[in-house]
């Protein structure tokens, strides 16, 4: 890879100063590719922080258009974006933030047919979806392709996050073998404090950046749970389930 320009050295100076990052680490980020599935409450902070950090290639998957009720938490989108495809609205903000980043948009729902060809083009996948059916598809496809995958979820004042590393530690279905009962209320019924996906998405972005840099310890086998009301984080250690429908 070519050397960093003077502008890049300045833009990424606070990254480059970090122990274990340096110019070489910044080049790793610029060579990296991350697929962000969902451009909503979680996808907003994830995509913003990855773009700001100089991750070279970001893929955004989302079939929805921006709705007025999204703007309380989905900080990629603005009032003037209502009615636009979320991935296009997102791309505008990310490219304006950092022209180094190549933003690839997929205005579609992830399907079993498209998942493999989409995921194999990236180094790591960040789950910013709002349903377990899509999460399970991501989980299974990433296991098959050997790609790491960072689960995040939010509900009301709570959130949780875990990193799935194929071949090391549990997968998502070791914890959640089945889809939830469709009658159990979700964020559309119970609400969600806008800053909660901000907290969880920021942790997901941190995990993705650490993975690209090869730094630190990831949330593998560690379900990190967050409660905004008591302002508590609690980590639950998880083992692989020998009866897991996906990874055993």
């Amino acid at each position: 890879m070519k050397e960093l320009t003077w502008e890049q050295q300045k833009r990424y100076q606070r990254n480059i100063l970090l122990p274990g990052v340096g110019i070489e680490g910044q080049k790793k980020l610029l060579r990296g590719g991350v697929l962000v599935v969902g451009a909503g409450g979680l996808g907003s902070p994830v995509a913003y922080y990855l773009a700001a950090a100089g991750v070279g290639r970001l893929g955004l998957v989302d079939a929805d258009v921006v709705d007025l009720s999204n703007l309380q938490r989905q900080i990629l989108h603005r009032t003037g974006d209502i009615g636009r495809p979320k991935v296009e609205s997102a791309r505008d903000k990310l490219v304006a933030l950092n022209p180094d980043v190549q933003v690839e948009v997929f205005p579609e729902r992830l399907s079993a047919a498209s998942a493999v060809s989409l995921i194999e083009r990236y180094d790591i996948v960040v789950d910013c979806t709002d349903n377990f059916a899509t999460r399970f598809l991501l989980n299974e496809t990433c296991l098959r392709l050997g790609k790491p995958f960072i689960y995040g979820g939010v509900l009301a004042f709570a959130g949780q996050v875990m990193t799935v590393m194929p071949g090391a530690g549990p997968c998502l279905r070791c914890i959640f073998p089945h889809e939830p009962d469709p009658h159990v209320p979700g964020c559309a019924e119970l609400g969600v404090l806008g800053a909660v996906p901000g907290v969880i998405g920021t942790i997901q972005a941190t995990e993705a950046i650490k993975y690209l840099l090869g730094l630190g310890d990831l949330l593998v086998g560690r379900l990190l749970t967050y409660d905004a009301l008591s302002m508590t984080f609690y980590e639950v250690s998880i083992d692989r389930d020998s009866g897991c429908p996906a990874c055993s």
């Binding site: 969902g38 909503g40 409450g41 979680l42 996808g43 789950d127 910013c128 979806t129 709002d130 349903n131 377990f132 999460r135 995040g152 979820g153 939010v154 509900l155 009301a156 004042f157 709570a158 959130g159 949780q160 070791c174 914890i175 959640f176 073998p177 939830p180 009962d181 009658h183 159990v184 979700g186 964020c187 119970l190 969600v192 996906p197 749970t225 409660d227 009301l229 008591s230 508590t232 609690y234 639950v236 250690s237 998880i238 083992d239 389930d241 009866g243 897991c244």
Partner: protein, 79 residues
């Protein structure tokens, strides 16, 4: 037998005085299943998405052992 129960992400509301992730010591008869424990705590089974016993997923019909650490979660699935 004694069990250590933790509830997360909104299930606290079913147990008076329960706090997110804070352990609750309960005394239950030997041979009780996960489902019976959930019922005895007053939590609707439909609200419990996943149960971990000592860090491993457990089915609703699993029989609990003395000292088990039981964590109960609703579906935290929004994005």
């Amino acid at each position: 037998m004694r069990l250590e129960v933790r509830v997360f992400s909104g299930l606290e509301k079913y147990i008076p005085g329960a706090r997110f992730g804070r352990s609750i010591e309960v005394e239950r008869p030997e041979g009780i299943t996960v489902a019976e424990l959930v019922d005895s705590l007053g939590i609707p089974r439909s609200q419990v998405f996943t149960v971990l016993v000592n860090g491993r997923h457990a089915a609703m019909d699993a029989v609990l052992q003395p000292g088990d650490r039981v964590s109960l979660f609703p579906p935290v699935g929004g994005g």
